[in-house]
């Protein structure tokens, strides 16, 4: 009997996990490699970052998901090298050989060449990022409560979110609700509602991928929540005390002790290895320009999907880095592998845009589904429903539902814990040493 066809998948995100699951009845041997032991539901990361949900609620252990799939194994590790000539990937020990490779390694935050900004303005890509941001935001209110000096106090109540895409909008809205509602009676010296939340976006409007009507609606909702918009403004500097933005020739200083980054991503560095070995072109964000069947130039056995791929066939612009794109590409790749093994033709990948939505806060969202565009509570309920539906695992769905219901009625966010090594958290900011050691 012939050896089964070996499919190696790098990355257990939306793309990689869906490819693995869709191969469950295929005559192949699937190896899923991830540096984490869980699949992360990134669209809800901002709720962990603002204390509404716990990390485990939006994560599902990969081994549990694939437990019953006999043809799949999981390896916890980080791929250091892909060798296309040898058809193998390298982790710590022996190389892992493949017949087909699916690279779904995703993206990370991009600071556009200013890597020194990362410490000052953490992004929101991992669970660690989320608990770090949660700690910074909550600690800022604590610092404000401890400050004797009025100017220092307000500087701790100044928050800046850089980036007006869905993540930035959701984060800014959630911090505003945290300050105005959740923390309302929590302090004795400060009024948390005095917090100023500024959302900076380089384009003239937030949510650039949405229609002008929905963009304005989202901006109205943000304003109602008390978020200040700085539109058409580009960040030129970030310091421990604030952000400098430029709008044309005008340079403005926005004071803030807490700055969060949601402005852009770049592809996982593994993309460069594939580009070098195949001569595949990459776009500005480091994404590999893939063919109509999601493979790279001259390597029909190498699929690249999700945030690592720039797919532009039959579409005006490359497909955006969204979960539905990765999910559909993952399933497509599994179909393509099955077709090939059966000697059938592989039709090109076609993305079905089922719409997009962004939530701004309690009962506030915008949604575009086909020709329909709507906002308010209807869009918000649709958003809740879709996110619950796509969350992996019955237990996670139930726990998130219960917490959302409680959070809706009480405006509480019970997971607002400041965790991690206290001294380390502020080590990079210019706090007096004594104060940092204190917490």
């Amino acid at each position: 009997m012939a050896e089964p066809h070996r499919v190696v998948i790098i990355g257990g995100g939306f793309g990689g996990l869906n490819a693995a699951r869709a191969l469950r009845h295929a005559p192949v041997e699937v190896t899923l490699i991830d540096r984490r032991n869980f699949h992360l539901f990134q669209p809800l990361l901002y709720q962990v970052a603002t204390g509404g949900l716990s990390p485990a609620n939006i994560a599902a252990p990969l081994r549990a998901i694939l437990e019953q799939q006999a043809n799949a194994r999981v390896i916890l590790g980080e791929v250091s090298r892909i060798d296309l000539a040898d058809r193998s990937v390298q982790l710590g020990g022996e190389p892992i050989p493949f017949d087909t490779l699916v690279v779904a390694a995703g993206a990370q935050d991009s600071y556009f060449g200013h890597d020194d900004w990362e410490e000052l303005a953490p992004g929101l890509k991992s669970l660690e990022d989320a608990t770090e941001i949660r700690g910074r935001v909550l600690s800022a209110f604590e610092e404000a409560e401890l400050s004797e000096d009025l100017a220092a106090r307000q500087s701790w109540l100044d928050f800046v979110v850089v980036g007006g895409g869905p993540t930035g909008v959701e984060l800014a809205g959630a911090i505003a609700e945290l300050a105005r509602h959740t923390l309302k009676n929590n302090f004795r010296r400060i009024d948390p509602a005095a917090a100023r939340i500024v959302l900076i976006e380089g384009e003239p409007q937030v949510l650039p991928s949405f229609s002008p009507k929905l963009r304005l609606r989202a901006q109205r909702s943000l304003a109602q929540l008390g978020v200040t918009l700085e539109l058409g403004a580009r960040v030129v500097a970030i310091s421990p005390t604030g952000v400098t933005v430029r709008r044309g020739d005008e340079v403005t200083e926005i004071p803030a002790r807490t700055v969060l980054w949601a402005a852009g991503v770049r592809a996982n560095p593994l993309g460069r290895q594939i580009a070098e070995q195949t001569g595949t072109a990459v776009d500005r964000g480091g994404r590999l320009i893939v063919g109509p069947d999601c493979t790279v130039a001259g390597r029909p056995e190498v699929f690249v999907i999700g945030d690592l791929a720039a797919f532009q066939h039959g579409t005006e612009r490359p497909l955006p880095g969204l979960a539905p794109v990765a999910i559909q590409q993952g399933r497509y790749v599994a179909r393509a592998i099955r077709s090939r093994l059966a000697g059938r033709e592989v039709p090109p990948f076609k993305y079905r845009d089922r719409g997009s939505m962004a939530t701004i806060g309690r009962a506030r969202a915008v949604a575009a589904v086909g020709p329909l565009e709507f906002g308010g509570i209807l869009a918000w309920l649709a958003w809740l429903f879709i996110h619950l539906l796509f969350l992996v695992g019955f237990q996670n769905r139930l726990l998130v539902l219960v917490q959302w219901a409680i959070n809706y009625f009480t405006r509480n966010r019970a997971a607002r814990l400041i965790t991690g090594e206290p001294a380390a958290r502020f080590a990079d900011l210019d706090l007096p040493a004594a104060r940092a050691a204190d917490r």
Copy 2:
């Protein structure tokens, strides 16, 4: 109008929090100081450490608990100095004056002079400890799955828990269930049930504070779960590859890559400051010997309660470091303060022992309530009920109940995430650098 009486409480654990809440109608100004922004329900920490619950499920933000209590404020910070002559406590900034001081600063792990063991055998006192242990236990199975070498593989499946009190018993039982049931079909190369869990206890039996009958019952339950008991054995050395124990003259080497510490605690170092300033005696664990009214020698305005106090009046041995003792002392102190302010006599503190219980695993527990002693599912249900009852916050109760129900029926532990900086986690063990960097 006179200034209100200022009560400063150090520590938001069971003792401090209950003192603060019981003072809600008293004509005092309460300042509760904690280095954490949440109250931690320590008895369920082992469930976080084994992936059954999320950190936020057993933590409640202190500010949320005291939100409606107008006479209480919370300060996030670590007390560096207590000055009894000046009647003030020192944090980062200005000293905080008090008229009455309640010190409920708790305890930390004690390695009996072997502080170098801490890195090799983490204890279970904080949420960070719990997620650290969770990461180590789950990573050990991952390491075993990656090992080509059979001996190395087994060494990763060897776990040692040091200490046969309730925490050690609960931890060993939970790891056994994790290995035998939760992870059953999760791996392809290893059988997680091949894990060997060894519980080391210096006394001849586990749960020394329970009756001989219940101790034997607990030992039977542990054996049924597959936990190996090493009784009457004292740890003399811990290395990255195992634990050395001595039983009389006999020295045995127990191999294990993962060692967890539940063997003893010592009082918070703040106790020493009080001892030095008052001449109060301390016991072997650093606990302050308090008077019948929980105050220290010559300082009727300084109460010491909970794990920091050694209370031995009308009892054979000092009261144990358990939640019920701290809770009752906290409430007693509040009553004492109110009585004094009203010019009434303060009766001495009297502990009402309502019984004790320990859980060993699913449907397995032991309980002693007054003259009644029982085990099995009845004790386990009583344990569940009591713990739900004492958990702070409606949301936590509901979420824990839902997860326990799901965990009971599916034997799943959905919160089995490996989080934290991967490279750092193994930095202190003698892993090949490449492997450590891998994860």
